[in-house]
Symmetry: D2
Subunit: 369 residues, 4 copies
């Protein structure tokens, strides 16, 4: 049978144009912690994230809503901020100690990035924080101090059939995946899975700090853009319940892709689009990756089960659409075009192909759509 290739080390060589490795040590990142997004209609977004998805409101005012998942004990996992242009203002990671903020400053300063620090924090409930425009153009944040709030894990009387229990990961769009991976490895991330072709082109890579398949992934495309933010449920029926509820609300067109089973990560998934088009994944049941020699899984870009284990087609918008990201002045970052091959083009349509069984020869999916 056709299977992905398993290796014990990073399968993606650092490219010639790599971001230099700083001599300053990287901050010790615990996990992806929250995303701050700008939405153009706060009431519509509140309906989507609170009334439909059931995220918990920690705090809110006229311009901003702070949301968390049911098993979270820090102030928020998602900030919705009213603004003129839908975009992402911060991908925020929690670090192990307050001193890791000094390391973040040194690390990014050495990289020549724009670095800012705010002892009062950039969002409510968060203390001393560092924000940078990273070498790929993304607004990354690091913090340690945070207000604790009630962990609602036992609050079953408040939970809905589609209960979101954890923030699981981010997913970023960037034109040069190997360059992005080399930088992220310097930052302390490790690759768990990736998608390549026989010529060595890398289409996407998944990287983790906490021992799941990822805290963030790098998806090849014009960037910097945000592909999606993902929340976890406990079981698969919770994800189905979200679909059923969207049908009942006559909002099924919010569903962009899925539900399905990923090949990469082995997780059960669903992709939604919020009222501004920001993509949200609902995700459950990937696997433990915390050992330093955790086997890396490399998928062939032509393997039709890599993105959906059941071979269901990926809709084109999933490949093409993503959210703008903001610089530290709040202005959208300009996009750099991807020059490597596009995953959509090499797998779908007249010239692309994918197979279910490699030994059967090439199966042109484009012929059947």
């Amino acid at each position: 049978m056709t299977e992905p290739v398993i290796t014990d080390s990073s399968p993606i060589p650092a490219p010639a144009n790599r971001v230099p490795t700083p001599t300053a040590p990287a901050p010790d990142i615990l996990r992806c912690a929250y995303m701050e997004i700008v939405v153009t209609d706060l009431a519509a977004s509140r309906e989507f994230y609170v009334d439909v998805l059931g995220l918990v409101v920690t705090e809110e005012d006229e311009t901003t809503i702070y949301l968390r998942s049911f098993e979270e004990f820090i102030h928020h996992n998602l900030v919705l901020r009213q603004g003129p242009v839908a975009a992402v203002a911060a991908f925020s990671y929690r670090v192990r100690t307050p001193e890791d903020l000094d390391k973040a400053v040194a690390f990014y300063t050495e990289l020549g990035c724009r670095v800012e620090r705010n002892a009062a924090g950039y969002t409510k409930g968060i203390g001393d924080s560092v924000r940078v425009e990273d070498p790929l153009g993304f607004p990354y944040e690091f913090f340690h101090d945070v207000d604790h709030v009630e962990r609602l894990a036992w609050a079953y009387h408040l939970q809905t059939p589609g209960c979101l229990v954890r923030l699981d990961h981010f997913n970023q769009v960037t034109p040069d995946v190997p360059r992005a991976v080399a930088y992220m490895e310097d930052l302390g991330f490790r690759v768990t899975e990736d998608i390549q072709d026989e010529a060595g082109t890398t289409y996407a890579a998944w990287m983790r700090r906490k021992p799941t398949v990822h805290d963030t992934a790098m998806t090849g495309g014009d960037g910097p853009r945000m592909h999606h933010v993902a929340f976890a449920t406990h079981e698969k029926h919770n994800i189905i319940a979200i679909c059923d509820k969207l049908g009942a609300l006559r909002k099924s067109d919010t569903i962009e892709r899925g539900p399905g089973r990923h090949g990469v990560s082995n997780a059960f998934y669903l992709y939604l689009r919020d009222p501004d088009g920001h993509r949200v994944e609902i995700y459950t049941q990937d696997y433990y990756t915390g050992d330093p020699d955790n086997p890396v899984v490399t998928w062939d870009v032509h393997d039709n089960q890599r993105r959906d284990w059941w071979g269901n087609p990926v809709v084109p918008s999933w490949y093409t659409d993503a959210s703008l990201v903001l610089d530290l002045d709040g202005q959208p970052q300009p996009l750099v075009a991807r020059t490597d091959d596009s995953e959509m083009e090499v797998t779908v349509g007249a010239d692309g192909f994918s197979y279910t069984r490699k030994e059967d020869g090439d199966f042109k999916l484009g012929h059947t759509l």
Copy 2:
């Protein structure tokens, strides 16, 4: 919100060209009981139905395999018979008493149909049986006597993650749905749900004897053909397990459509194609319909949630492909073309449309594919 229309009686008027109602009373049908299908490669079919789907082999020989589901106590729910042309040899219903066979003979004789009776049964484990070429051209069978076999409901040590527990229903393709419905109502079936348009064209109808949404459905198209045979699981994760297993076996291209949630029937579903292309549905969790005034649900053909509650598109093959059916001599029945509108054409593509919310105006799905 847009909702289907609920009525307390059959929403499909009998057409002018209806099959005359016999004066002879209809046999008292209990339920759809088994389907006999001709397969061209018995070993390949055995692998699909036994090794992959886990149906239980009651008995088998060199040309024929008798299969049942885990909660069944009659000899079989599916007969695979080796033959030269993939087709359906019988849609078989169990009747309440031996005397109902006499009624079946009289009923179909009065309709001018070809009727045969075999006291020894047409398949192993089944006694006295009547087979007819019904007014729509389908090979229908009726029987009462049957060998009892062990009901494996409690045999959890033999069950797989995707355990099939019951035969749920048949689905037939016929060109004139209202004509088919009128005949089936004469045979004692009742409509539970249907799909129409505002002009009164009927695209499909679901009809039951046992108190589920259907024992069989009539789907508009060139016919007579068999659209699918459906088995039930207990829970939704059982259906997902079948998909996961097909991926692991690198047979994901067996999945034609789904999994998803039906609008019609409210059931969770998956469609597979067996090695001959016979379509099998895996199905769970419709609702009780046994009261005589059970509300009939009429869906608008343009409602994008009617066939998939989450609005996921129906693949064209699901509309166009179906299995031939055999006459009582074992020859394929010629097809009669549908002259009413085609559901696929009125909902997909340049001229068709469907909507998620009717009040939003027409949403052309064709534009987005």
Copy 3:
């Protein structure tokens, strides 16, 4: 391995003291339809059935609440009526036609029972109804006319994690189970499973009209009393969600027994006690029983897996406690003591025993508690 005995006909011979079979034909009963219970604190009961269990309020006033499950289309499945003594006022069955009410009157009149008829119905939303004090002392009701209400099967936005979708069955306590069964068979019920011992004592019997394991069961004990009323969920996790919610509400002492898997019926179950001590079962996934020769399953009373397939002990209160039932004047029926052996006494404690594997010899459960 030890297994229950399977037979094709009723395994319980009619006793010498049987209720005579009427010459009048029995009404054609469709299904158990609703129970009317008297509660002593309507607000407390509302909290339990509506806020905790999530039943849908069809209608309510100061003294009465009319509740239904999510897939129901008739006015109610449960009536809570404020009154001085907690008891059951009616076990109500729906019949196929209005004429079946005449049959019910004739049937019970011939039996010498007290019979009343109210063309306006005894509860809101129900029309012409017959109520009787049946030969076992139970207040049975029969009706056909009923108001239709919205079937909320598709209303996923209103459903909770522990969503109750159907009324499944009643369970009655009566001293002489074979006598009760013979009368119920005359009324058109069929036995699907029962519990006996080698001496022929019958401890309980399950009987059905709709093709599930039961519409009601007869449990041996001092009677007439109501043992429980049962609602169905779609999946097992829905039942677990109810337990989790009760824990979160610090009402876990509402859980009397379970969750677990029944041997009898093969269903997954949970027993709760409402604020008055009325017992409610939550139940899912029994099997189809609609064929006239459906195999009857007889369990040995000493089989430790008969009531819980996993061998978890039955708490004594489950055997001893039950609700009073009212006569047609609203007065509690006096109890008749069971004279046959008690299931609790022959299976638990110093003199009782049960086994996991019969071939191992007797295993005294009493020794291990």
Copy 4:
């Protein structure tokens, strides 16, 4: 409502008799990795762990079987070794680097413990390893080098309904829980939850390295003994499937306690006893604990929902029974009696009590059993 107390630091003060903190740094432990147990009938144990529970055989010979879970990539999670006395030979942890073995040697040597090192490993598939008799008398192992084997996460065609996907944790019985906790904190573990009473007696504590609720727990009782080893499933229905299968195999007496929902850890659980009486937990869905300030949850020993969120009673054997552990010569360690109060005695029976709602006053569970 009654709720456990949440704090941000270890709630258990180090006792006066604490094990001294070594000056040598602790090894960097990744996770609990495997347990080696001695079984008296290897064939019977193989049937239990392989045929019933479905663990994967990596390798086996006449005296030893090496088993792993479906998502594991190291050689084994459980070693069954034939021997004369049922006992535990090793609680084995994986460390981050080969150098951590040197740290383990120094750490335990300074503690005055017996320390051995075997460059060839003590079990197949494992390289250089350190084994110690720790200050509590337990045989602890540390290793880094290990053979990689296929991670069967995607091998759905091999998975059973009750598929075990990960080793989750150990649980140890020791007389003085605060003394055990102080030592384990020195070893780098952190407390996530515990059970205390108002007088400050600690009954049990849960401690983690990987970011789940625990890699091991310390349960108060005569020790050193092994309370249980726990494997994880993905979903709750997987655990129910194990119970159902045990019923079908007429091995339901293997079930000691559960299934149920823990208060502590919030996980869904089941306890089994293997043919030698070694206790195995099946466990799913606790929460992320990886932040250094993860809130610690302290449960009142009298809270009836602490060990079962639904208030189902803990069977006495669960408190009293546990497995012997071996010293490095393979001889059973003698037991030291607990002198602190016993959790069973303070919560069950004539003098113990527990409550569902603290404000209701004490509820004597002993009265109701």
